[in-house]
């Protein structure tokens, strides 16, 4: 969502975090991990006929942040997000929500946390086929014992929020894929969760609908400001929505960073491959390519450090003079030259050389 807060100096509190999290499928996975003391290779796992779906993953998701987990199919994204919500019991590691150890939560506590703090949207929508739209959206409230009137009112609000008003008596089978996912989104929001998990919510949709839903999500997040953990296998989608991205490969997280950092500084060749075809001007900001301000130079214009290159590229190239870069407080911290901007636009030089 690219809403990097100006006050980056005082980071928001951590909402959800995991440290050295492992999920190994197969018999006696726990003993296996314990005996190897966290140093496990792919060959070790293969020899023991185990699948290391998540390996030694550590992430910290901050309040109000859109955190994206990106990776190819089978890289362990779903498993990781299911561990974070404890739908799957992690094999090893730590997991905290609001500083509370989620792995120590009893079944009753877990139910309570999920009822009030967490919401989830699924790739294939997971709507209940026997309920209409209204009842589907109201379902999480129903099981909490909320009375009929309140829950239907609340559900109607959510249905309006996702622009499905007038379709509340339809059944899931009568809706298009995009509409079904809107129901899924409305349902997950009905309980006003603080943490919102979305597991490839748009992957089953057509490309055009997908873009529309992405815009919708950005709109919703601007209003709701949830803590979002969003899974995707689509790097463009990740760039478009993310505050930060974690890139997964074979169960391990190989890089975490802002879209800009990932694009300009890919940690490995693997990551670089994803970033190849990205439109850099749209990802990189002025701060990403600025040089120290040359003393005494008179700059024609000022741009904000967080401004994307795309937003001032035409002007700077036309004016053929450097622009000054200022931070949130208006202090000049550097300058960008037309040459650097052209290099970014043509895919050469700084930020592209990685």
């Amino acid at each position: 969502m690219n809403m990097t807060t100006p006050g980056a100096a005082s980071p928001r509190p951590v909402k959800l975090s995991c440290h050295n999290l492992w999920k190994v499928f197969g018999p006696n996975a726990e003993q296996f991990l314990a005996s190897h003391g966290g140093k496990v290779t792919t060959a070790d796992l293969e020899r023991a006929h185990l699948v290391g779906a998540v390996r030694n993953a550590s992430i910290e998701v901050r309040e109000g942040e859109t955190f994206i987990i990106m990776g190819l199919s089978g890289s362990g994204k779903s498993t990781l997000v299911r561990c974070l919500s404890r739908l799957i019991e992690p094999t090893a590691g730590e997991l905290t929500v609001d500083g509370q150890d989620l792995l120590k939560a009893t079944e009753a506590e877990l139910i309570d946390i999920r009822r009030h703090k967490m919401g989830m949207v699924f790739q294939h929508f997971a709507l209940l086929p026997h309920l209409n739209v209204l009842d589907n959206v109201a379902f999480p409230l129903l099981i909490q014992g909320v009375d009929r009137k309140t829950r239907e009112e609340r559900a109607m609000q959510m249905i309006e929020l996702v622009s499905l008003k007038g379709r509340e008596r339809r059944f899931p089978a009568e809706l298009s894929g995009g509409q079904q996912q809107r129901v899924g989104i409305a349902r997950s929001l009905a309980v006003e969760p603080e943490i919102w998990f979305l597991d490839e919510p748009f992957s089953a949709l057509d490309p055009l609908i997908r873009r529309e839903m992405q815009a919708e999500l950005i709109r919703l997040q601007n209003v709701l400001k949830k803590t979002i953990v969003f899974i995707t296998h689509d790097f463009d989608e990740a760039i478009r929505l993310a505050d930060r991205i974690a890139i997964m490969k074979d169960g391990a997280i190989i890089q975490i960073g802002k879209p800009e950092e990932v694009v300009s500084n890919p940690a490995t060749d693997y990551v670089a491959k994803f970033t190849q075809d990205v439109n850099r001007a749209r990802v990189l900001s002025a701060a990403g390519i600025m040089l120290p301000a040359s003393p005494g130079a008179s700059c024609l214009r000022r741009v904000k450090a967080v401004a994307k290159i795309e937003s001032f590229a035409a002007e700077i190239v036309e004016s053929a003079t450097p622009f000054a870069v200022e931070d949130a407080a208006g202090v000049i911290i550097g300058e960008v030259t037309p040459r650097d901007v052209i290099n970014v636009l043509t895919g050469k030089g700084r930020g592209a050389e990685a």
Partner: protein, 659 residues
């Protein structure tokens, strides 16, 4: 191919080679044993001295149960008797209040009301056509003067089905929740229960409860519950994992997850289970007339025993009508889409129920004053019995020679030689081949299983009757496949043929086993030929259905690939469609074998000499040990066939990557 690709470790290769020769080797061994039968008699005919007295053991257990569990059986019987009696009174007999001369009679439900409600149900769930089928079908019951007995049969079903459905649902949920319990107890028990022939269920019930409707009810319940367990298990397992995850994420408790998410999501599968329960219950209620169920089945039984073909046919037809109506109605209910607009208010929610109850109440009250509503006027009933009799008489007069010629021909040139062949099969040889097949197809576990089950047949001293059953079931399967598979192929290649064949097949499947025998007996009298024909008619259904389905399911891209490669139609069929559809076709054959086995047993009624006859006699003498062991032997034959074929299909699918 290069040398590198295909050279497994030498040890592996040796084992593989050994496996290849295993089956042929055992066949050679079996033939050798047979040829040396004079020198090795005990390897051909199981020695009497080595017979293990399973019969006596089972008999002892049953006697012990009879003596020591009376309190339990009695109270269970008393408990079941209450709703059953109520249903009997409501539908057929009327309520008698008080005793002696002052007793007042409350009437049973008026036939017109019942016909009306059936029509109304049909209308709600399937529109006018179903309304006509249901209402018309039940009206025919009144018209043909079998209303009373039909309602007795229906009463048993009405009480039995909810009982089976609830039990099945609960057991299914339980085994879903604990896979270990399912794997070790439920699935094997279900396999056994579904292969034990129907007659064998009657024996312990007869022993424990005597000949009474309660015995029939319990036997029916036992017989009809397994498909509900399976449907529940299947349905719950089939719920998409995302929906299960959703239930957890929404914060459902275990109970909420089950009843509010899983069960409703599994509803389509569950409803298929309910439909199967209804059909099996009807089937079994008819057969249970042998132990006092009464109703239409009893009419058939009496008429068959007295060889009154007309009456048997009439009652049989009434059963078929009930079967078709119940089947179509329950399927319509199962497939109904949820209504789009749900209006508010009591009327909208319960309107249909109110109409139905009102209809019954009104007609029944009117029946107090108008006798024609209470009992369908005798003068208006039609009886079809004379027509059937006339038809049969005509046939025997004009076609006797032709029919007899067919009968004798089949008997002399097909059945008798086959029978002789099967009867002289050496037990050890057969067992060796079966074990080798098991080992080849499914490893040592399967080999052990089929070996033990086969040995049970030999050691129980029932080897020869078992082979006689195998011969008849084998002959019937063979004929059913020879007719059914080409029919299925034909149906798969033409929508027109399919639209003619499949409804016939569907109807054939709804006809209770007992009723199929009747017309065949009319033409071919009693004996193996009748058994063969009736069994083929019953068992052909899956052969046709699975073949058609399997061929139609061949992915179109495979067919297109074949066409692009320039296959002729025959090549396409031979090299693409048939191989891909083969696993499905084999499953059909598997089903055909199981159905043939169960039908063959019923055919003991028309004088076959085999395990069925063994059970039939045991039933007559209430000899539980003998009957149950014979029933188990049949079940084991079915399980052996089932396991071997399933293993073959799985192996084949795995190789084709079509899992």
């Amino acid at each position: 191919m290069t040398d590198v690709t295909a050279s497994p470790a030498p040890g592996l290769r040796k084992a593989e080679n050994l496996g290849q020769y295993m089956v042929p080797l055992t066949i050679v061994a079996a033939v050798t044993i047979f040829l040396l039968r004079d020198r090795l008699p005990s390897l051909n005919t199981y020695p009497d001295a080595a017979i293990i007295p399973f019969k006596d053991w089972v008999g002892a257990v049953m006697s012990w149960m009879k003596v020591n569990l009376t309190w339990f059986t009695r109270s269970l019987a008393a408990m079941m008797d209450v709703p059953l009696r109520f249903a009997f009174n409501l539908l057929a007999k009327g309520f008698k209040l008080g005793n002696g001369p002052e007793a007042t009679m409350l009437p049973r439900l008026s036939w017109l009301g019942v016909v009306g409600v059936m029509g109304w149900l049909g209308y709600i769930y399937g529109g006018w056509r179903l309304a006509l089928l249901c209402g018309g079908g039940f009206f025919a019951l009144a018209l043909f003067g079998v209303w009373n007995n039909a309602m007795l049969t229906l009463a048993l079903i009405v009480i039995c089905v909810p009982f089976c459905v609830i039990t099945g649902l609960l057991v299914g949920i339980w085994s879903y929740r604990s896979p270990r319990f399912d794997g070790w107890l439920i699935t094997p028990a279900l396999d056994l229960m579904q292969t034990i022939p129907t007659f064998a269920y009657l024996i312990p019930m007869l022993l424990l409860y005597g000949a009474s409707p309660v015995s029939a009810l319990l036997a029916t319940g036992l017989f009809a519950t397994p498909p509900m367990v399976r449907a529940t298990l299947l349905g719950l397992n089939k719920v998409p994992s995302e929906i299960k995850d959703f239930a957890d994420m929404a914060g459902c408790t275990r109970r909420q997850k089950l009843w509010r998410v899983l069960i409703p999501s599994a509803k389509p599968s569950l409803m298929i289970g309910v439909n199967q329960v209804i059909m099996l219950a009807l089937n079994m209620v008819i057969i249970s007339s042998m132990i006092g169920a009464g109703g239409l089945g009893y009419d058939v039984l009496l008429a068959l025993r007295a060889l009154k073909i007309g009456q048997a046919m009439e009652a049989g037809l009434a059963i078929v009508i009930i079967a078709i109506v119940l089947d179509r109605l329950s399927q319509a209910i199962a497939h109904r889409q949820p209504a789009i607009a749900i209006a508010e208010g009591t009327w909208a929610r319960h309107g249909n129920l109110i109409i139905a109850v009102g209809l019954l109440a009104l007609t029944t009250i009117f029946a107090l004053f108008i006798p024609a509503l209470a009992t369908f006027p005798k003068s208006l009933t039609l009886t079809t019995a004379p027509w059937w009799k006339a038809g049969v008489d005509w046939l025997t007069l004009h076609m006797f020679d032709a029919i007899e010629a067919v009968r004798v021909f089949v008997l002399l040139y097909f059945l008798n030689p086959m029978r002789a062949g099967f009867e002289s099969l050496p037990w050890l040889g057969v067992l060796l081949v079966v074990v080798a097949l098991g080992w080849r197809l499914g490893g040592w576990r399967l080999a052990l299983l089929v070996g033990l089950l086969g040995f049970f047949a030999a050691a129980s001293g029932l080897w020869v009757p078992a082979m006689q059953t195998l011969y008849l079931a084998g002959a019937a399967t063979l004929v059913a496949c020879i007719i059914g598979i080409p029919l299925g192929i034909w149906a798969s290649r033409s929508d027109r043929v399919q639209s003619v064949v499949m409804p016939i097949i569907d109807t054939l499947q709804t006809i209770p086993m007992f009723c199929i025998i009747i017309p065949v007996v009319m033409l071919f009298r009693v004996g193996d030929v009748t058994a063969l024909i009736a069994t083929v008619a019953f068992a052909i259904v899956p052969a046709v259905r699975y073949t058609n389905h399997g061929l139609r399911q061949v992915p179109s891209h495979l067919v297109e690939a074949g066409q692009v490669a320039g296959c002729t139609r025959w090549q396409l069929f031979r090299h693409v469609q048939l191989p891909v559809a083969m696993p499905e076709i084999m499953l059909g054959i598997n089903q055909t074998i199981l159905l043939a086995l169960s039908m063959i047993i019923i055919c003991a009624m028309v004088g076959t000499r085999d395990l069925g006859q063994e059970i039939f006699k045991a039933l007559a003498k209430a000899d539980s040990g003998r009957g149950i062991v014979a029933g188990l032997v049949i079940a084991f034959i079915g399980i052996i066939a089932d396991r071997l074929i399933t293993a073959w299909v799985n192996k084949r699918k795995m190789r084709g990557g079509l899992t």
